[in-house]
């Protein structure tokens, strides 16, 4: 986390008005991505990790929502942008890889058409023939054998793994500065997921793109990310370099989450986390994990962000 971040989310708040009342979904989320850095945002379902990603992509706005804070991409605040300005940014400077490749690709166009369209969006001067040539080249580059046949195919004619490969190629074809990846490959099988992550690592390295990986899987975090943010109930509770986080997790939630993962070493059953995720319309004051925390105490109502080691920050009264 040196120098200037390429993407910085600052004090992001998301509130949604619902029948039950106003839900405070994101409660001051801040995170930074350095150029070319692979960062994971990890948490359980409903913690707000996907909302964070969608806001960063300008894909979350509806009449009953209010978003506050800033999303800075190389010095520009993306939150205030209109749809027209977004079109110049999305797919060019920042792009996205979705969880389910089958749903993310358009079933009525061939893969070649979709790749060529993506290429021409990034570089409007490209002729159709040129774009198609570049599409074929891009596929060959990611070891797709028989790229001609694949380009002429519709997504449903191809395997999930191949579609995922195409989606990643498409996301990176315009050499974006940032890729947001929401659970890539997790809708597929473990072997395909592994291949997906390997490909993402190789391609983003090559292009120099930073990756914000959204995931619930700590194992995926460990193999893919250089740095991690752990999210719980709309707040970042811990931030550290990956190796450090797995070696010495400091927040009680991070520890509990790690203990809940079944281990390949077969040391018996994993440990559940007692209690339930709090109600977003009426969350506990201060640390939202406190009702489930074995170390909860009176001053949990206003936990500080401690930095026990450089780059390892934890939002907990235990601090160190």
């Amino acid at each position: 986390m040196s120098a200037e971040p390429i993407l910085a989310v600052e004090d992001l708040h998301l509130r949604i008005r619902q029948f039950e009342g106003e839900a405070h979904i994101l409660n001051g989320v801040s995170l930074r991505l350095g150029a070319g850095e692979r960062v994971a945002l990890v948490g359980e379902s409903g913690c707000g990790k996907s909302s964070t990603a969608l806001i960063a992509m300008g894909l979350m706005n509806s009449g009953n929502m209010s978003v506050d804070g800033r999303v800075m991409l190389e010095g520009t605040d993306l939150l205030g942008l209109g749809e027209r300005e977004w079109r110049n940014i999305r797919g060019r400077q920042i792009s996205m890889v979705f969880q389910d490749p089958g749903a993310a690709l358009n079933p009525v166009f061939t893969v070649g058409d979709q790749l060529a369209t993506a290429i021409r969006r990034g570089d409007p001067g490209t002729s159709l023939a040129e774009a198609q040539e570049r599409a074929a080249e891009a596929l060959r580059h990611v070891h797709v054998v028989d790229s001609e046949r694949v380009l002429a195919s519709y997504p449903f004619q191809l395997s999930g793994g191949l579609n995922q490969r195409i989606l990643i190629t498409m996301a990176l074809v315009n050499r974006p500065r940032v890729v947001v990846a929401d659970e890539p490959g997790s809708a597929l099988d473990v072997t395909v997921q592994e291949q997906t992550l390997r490909l993402m690592k190789a391609l983003t390295d090559e292009v120099g793109a930073a990756v914000l990986l959204i995931t619930h899987n700590l194992g995926v975090v460990r193999t893919f990310a250089q740095r991690v943010y752990v999210m719980y109930s709309g707040t970042i509770v811990e931030e550290a370099e990956t190796a450090r986080l797995f070696e010495t997790p400091r927040h009680p939630y991070t520890k509990a989450l790690l203990a809940a993962v079944p281990r390949l070493t077969g040391e018996g059953l994993p440990q559940p986390i007692p209690g339930q995720v709090p109600d977003y319309t009426n969350p506990p004051a201060g640390c939202r994990f406190q009702p489930r925390c074995p170390h909860a105490r009176a001053d949990c109502v206003d936990p500080p962000f401690a930095e026990p080691e450089p780059g390892h920050r934890v939002r907990c009264v235990l601090g160190d």
Binding site: V190, P262, R263, L264, T265, G266, P272
Partner: protein, 332 residues
């Protein structure tokens, strides 16, 4: 089909599956979801069936549950053949817990209605007695009994899965088919369900067929593992052996794909040549090892028909013509 017997465990065999085949016709082609599967499930044990989507693992579960008819082959329950047309008592003895907490419970029915159905079908209890039994079942799975009149949407995903478990327990079965029971849940919730499954198994002497794609879960819960690939059993045996000394190349690939969270676990994973050259072309059905198109370790023999299961040890079978070998234990 002569096949070496796996003698994992001493308990008597409860369910024996013999050369089970299930073909589906897709357009003009025939696809085998199960291409001759044999295995034993012993009383009181947990047998895990592992495979990716399209491996036939759910089809196998459906055959045992009697909601689908095999094309050929037999299923024996305590030595007697059972089919999809079975009497009420046979239905009672095999129950299911499914994958999705969002669709496993009918959204239009209350928990009491959902749990009352199996009790009403399989017992002569009066209305009042059934209500008491519903309360008891909810208590067993740790859902407050006064949730009885609630509808599923008012429950969390974990609570819904627990109600589904209560429904499976309601008719007092011998066997529960667990079809990815925790794969839609967060790990913190999954851990509690797994704990509950283990507790219930010892309390009620249950036998589990645990269908999953998650090998880390399998490692901690199963006595025996069956690895399915495209309708074929490619490896099966005692859990510890399959994990510590995988033989079939597909099993090795699966194990090496597991995202793990610690160094000791990493050390247990076999290595895999992710950039190795593979054939990529599908062989015609039955002509070769089903894994051949994805296998960087293929040898000339591999396209000479489907390899049969052979014994690596008395409790460990595999169907690989170029196995990792007895000495190829994982990196320590």
């Amino acid at each position: 089909m002569a096949e070496p017997a796996v003698s994992a465990g001493k308990n008597p065999v409860l369910i024996r599956i013999e050369d089970l085949r299930r073909d589906f016709t897709v357009g003009s082609r025939t696809v085998s979801a199960l291409a001759g599967v044999s295995l034993d499930i012993r009383r009181g044990q947990t047998v895990a069936v592992v495979g990716e989507s399209g491996s036939g693992k759910t089809t196998l579960g459906n055959q045992i549950l009697g909601i689908d008819q095999p094309t050929s082959g037999r299923i024996l329950f305590e030595g007697r053949e059972i089919t999809a047309t079975r009497d009420t008592d046979m239905r009672r003895r095999i129950q299911v817990v499914q994958q999705s907490p969002y669709t496993t419970l009918n959204p239009k029915r209350s928990l009491r209605q959902i749990l009352d159905l199996p009790i009403a079908i399989h017992s002569n209890r009066s209305r009042r007695e059934r209500r008491d039994r519903v309360a008891e079942l909810l208590e067993i799975v740790g859902v407050p009994a006064d949730f009885m009149e609630r509808h599923p949407y008012m429950l969390s995903g974990g609570q819904r899965q627990r109600v589904a478990l209560a429904r499976a327990l309601a008719p007092e079965p011998d066997v529960i088919v667990l079809d990815e029971p925790t794969s839609s849940l967060d790990v913190s919730v999954q851990a509690r369900i797994l704990q509950m499954l283990v507790d219930l198994q010892s309390q009620y002497q249950l036998t589990y067929l645990f269908i999953t794609h998650d090998l880390s879960v399998v490692r901690n819960i199963a006595d025996e593992v069956v690895v399915l690939y495209r309708g074929y059993v490619v490896e099966r045996g005692a859990t510890t052996e399959l994990f510590s000394n995988p033989q079939h190349r597909y099993n090795a690939m699966l194990l090496s794909s597991i995202p793990v969270v610690s160094e000791p676990e990493e050390a247990l994973k076999p290595s895999w040549d992710w950039d190795g050259d593979v054939l990529g072309i599908e062989p015609s059905v039955g002509a070769a090892c089903p894994f051949l198109p994805r296998c960087p370790h293929a040898v000339a023999l591999c396209d000479q028909g489907v390899p049969p299961l052979v014994a690596a040890t008395p409790t460990h079978l595999h169907a690989c013509r170029n196995p990792r070998g007895p000495g190829a234990a994982c990196r320590e």
